[in-house]
């Protein structure tokens, strides 16, 4: 099976058959359905998909940040040989910030307005590593310097409102990396920033990843960002992974009609006067998923009744390249 292309031994974080359901008043919504991915030290995995595709929810489930109930999380999340979903709440809390770090989308709301920057940067270090006093302060200064904040010692006692959006996101990264976690999950970490700042943050994270050798899971809907930073890409649609591939293979030879649609929708420089390609229709209601292929209602290449009534499974089309279709849509023909 292709799942063993990279064996679990070399991956730091390995997510297996992750399923997240939410009990709602109208019924049970399966927001993340049988999602598997893994990431090795020093590697960057990008998870792309539109809003509501389940990419953020799967990240929160991995971190253990979903409120349960209403959420129900099933599957396995292996972090170096132990399944986090089987761990006690205390053990999970000890991994958060220490071994798993997370950066959130909106830097304007992810810092506590009442606490100083220094206090917030040193919170994790104090909590996990037990540093105190001047040692703690030195570490906070070091961290702020690491993420490129000028004159860090002077800014330690300032409050979040005195920082710009880009600077706040740097602070968030400093907080997430404070205890040098093995895996960093960046959930739309640059989406709320302007393009210049976005490039700086991406460059910064790349450099820190190289220095610390951590694995990065980059969640985004921006395919432009993905091309620049990812080693491998997982494309999610309606709670499922529909295609996964090394980044070059995905861009050169996308196999799923959804991925093809996404890449086709990218604006082309110099393409004046051409109308932007779109994928018509809307993602399905998680309470009423189509019985067959979930992309069937929007698919431009749907072939027969099998697509409509029978859910397709993942199959391998190239080295490390897997896709959830019945037919090879690049080569036109049944598998």
């Amino acid at each position: 099976m292709s799942a063993e292309v990279s064996s679990p031994a070399e991956s730091v974080l390995s997510v297996r058959d992750l399923t997240v359901r939410f009990a709602t008043r109208r019924g049970v919504a399966t927001v993340v359905d049988d999602v598997s991915w893994e990431v090795a030290a020093g590697e960057t995995l990008a998870i792309v998909g539109e809003s509501g595709s389940g990419k953020s929810v799967s990240a929160l489930a991995v971190m253990g940040l979903l409120p349960t109930p209403p959420a129900r999380v099933q599957g396995q999340v292996w972090l170096e040989g132990s399944d986090l979903l089987q761990a006690s709440p205390q053990e999970r809390r000890r991994t958060r910030g220490r071994r798993l770090g997370m950066v959130f989308q909106d830097p304007m709301t992810s810092l506590n307005p009442f606490l100083t920057i220094g206090k917030q940067v040193s919170e994790g270090v104090e909590h996990h590593l037990g540093l105190h006093g001047s040692e703690l302060r030195d570490r906070a200064v070091e961290l702020l310097g690491l993420v490129g904040i000028p004159a860090p010692a002077d800014r330690l006692d300032e409050h979040p409102h005195q920082f710009s959006g880009g600077m706040r996101q740097r602070v968030m990264i400093a907080i997430a990396l404070a205890c040098e976690p093995q895996v960093l999950i960046a959930d739309e970490a640059t989406t709320a920033l302007d393009v210049t700042t976005q490039a700086q943050i991406i460059e910064l994270l790349g450099r820190l990843q190289e220095d610390m050798g951590m694995a990065v899971v980059w969640i985004t809907h921006d395919l432009g960002v993905v091309a620049g930073i990812a080693d491998r890409v997982s494309v999610m649609y309606a709670g499922q992974v529909v295609e996964e591939a090394p980044v070059d293979a995905l861009y050169a030879d996308p196999r799923h009609p959804y991925t093809q649609g996404l890449l086709g929708a990218l604006p082309v420089i110099g393409g004046h006067g051409r109308e932007l390609a779109t994928i018509s229709g809307l993602p399905p209601d998680p309470l009423q998923m189509p019985p067959g292929c979930r992309f069937w209602p929007r698919c431009t290449r749907r072939l027969d009744a099998r697509c409509e009534h029978e859910p397709p499974t993942m199959w391998e089309v190239g080295p490390g390249h897997r896709v959830r279709t019945f037919y090879d849509t690049a080569r036109e023909g049944s598998r």
């Binding site: 958060r96 989308q105 307005p113 409102h161």
Partner: protein, 301 residues
């Protein structure tokens, strides 16, 4: 205008926001008067016995029922005791009861509200339904019922008043926690391994304090009023220790021959409660960004 104010207000830092709040309170002239009255009360509470021209239980039978004069500013009572001295000294009891009773409700209510709002679910249901039950009783009736169980006296009166005003703090605190707990920074703090206790203490409590501070000031007024009512009914401060409520009760029998015996303690209650309410209102206006923009625009128009 109001958009600007409301988008800027949450940005304001803790320290600077406090100064802004103070400035906004001081811009309200009525509030300044209220603060001065409260300051005078605190002085009376601290130094009452030293400031009082006569002993509170100095009985001068030949001087009884003296109307207000320069010798006896508020007149004398049926035993010839100086009413002014007794009103002055009783300020301590009133403020003490108010502060300790509100302290009890504050600690109990905020703790319950934090826990109920943060954990939700069954804990929330149980805590808030008990609070609703307490809330459903008329305040003074509940206090009397509690005193009937505990027995009359100053300490028990403080406990009773403290219990009676707990639900309001629990409600206000829970409501604020419900919105703050969904903030990204709470999730972010959780993502670096913060425990529930740490989240509550460091990230949620500071962000829900504003409405609680306002309620504290308003509750102090209610607590002092309740103490006066309980003492009037003989359930609070026991004679011969002076208290405004008790003096009101004593003056009741002589209202036709010595009106000053009831009027001055009554006025003391009235002024104190009014001062706390004015300051509380001013603080609410200052801490609420929407109200603040109204205050600022009022200055301009």
């Amino acid at each position: 205008m109001s958009d600007q104010a409301s988008s800027q207000a949450p940005e304001a830092p803790a320290a600077e926001q406090r100064f802004q709040t103070l400035r906004a309170v001081l811009a309200n002239r009525l509030a300044v008067v209220g603060l001065l009255v409260l300051a005078a009360l605190v002085v009376a509470a601290l130094f009452g016995p030293q400031l009082a021209p006569y002993g509170i239980n100095a009985i001068e039978v030949e001087d009884r029922f003296q109307s207000p004069s320069l010798d006896h500013l508020f007149g004398t009572d049926e035993l010839g005791r100086d009413v002014f001295s007794r009103v002055l000294v009783a300020a301590r009891v009133s403020l003490q009861v108010g502060a300790i009773a509100v302290g009890i409700s504050l600690v109990a209510g905020v703790t319950l509200g934090l826990v109920a709002g943060f954990y939700g679910g069954r804990i929330d249901d149980v805590v808030m339904r008990v609070m609703d039950m307490l809330f459903a009783f008329p305040a003074i009736l509940l206090a009397i019922a509690i005193l009937a169980v505990l027995g009359p006296g100053l300490t028990n009166a403080m406990i009773a008043i403290g219990i009676v005003y707990t639900p309001i703090f629990a409600r206000i605190c829970r409501a604020s926690v419900l919105s703050v707990r969904e903030e990204v920074f709470v999730r972010a703090a959780r993502s670096i391994g913060a425990s529930d206790f740490r989240l509550l203490r460091l990230h949620i409590l500071p962000n829900v304090l504003a409405p609680i501070i306002v309620q504290t000031s308003l509750s102090l007024a209610f607590a002092i009023l309740s103490e006066a009512a309980l003492s009037f009914l003989g359930l609070g401060v026991q004679p011969p220790q002076p208290s405004w409520g008790r003096m009101l009760f004593d003056g009741r029998g002589f209202i036709e021959q010595a009106w000053w015996m009831g009027v001055f303690p009554g006025l003391a209650i009235f002024v104190t409660v009014l001062a706390f309410n004015i300051v509380g209102d001013a603080m609410r206006d200052a801490l609420d960004p929407k109200q603040r923009s109204v205050i600022e625009s009022r200055g301009q128009s």
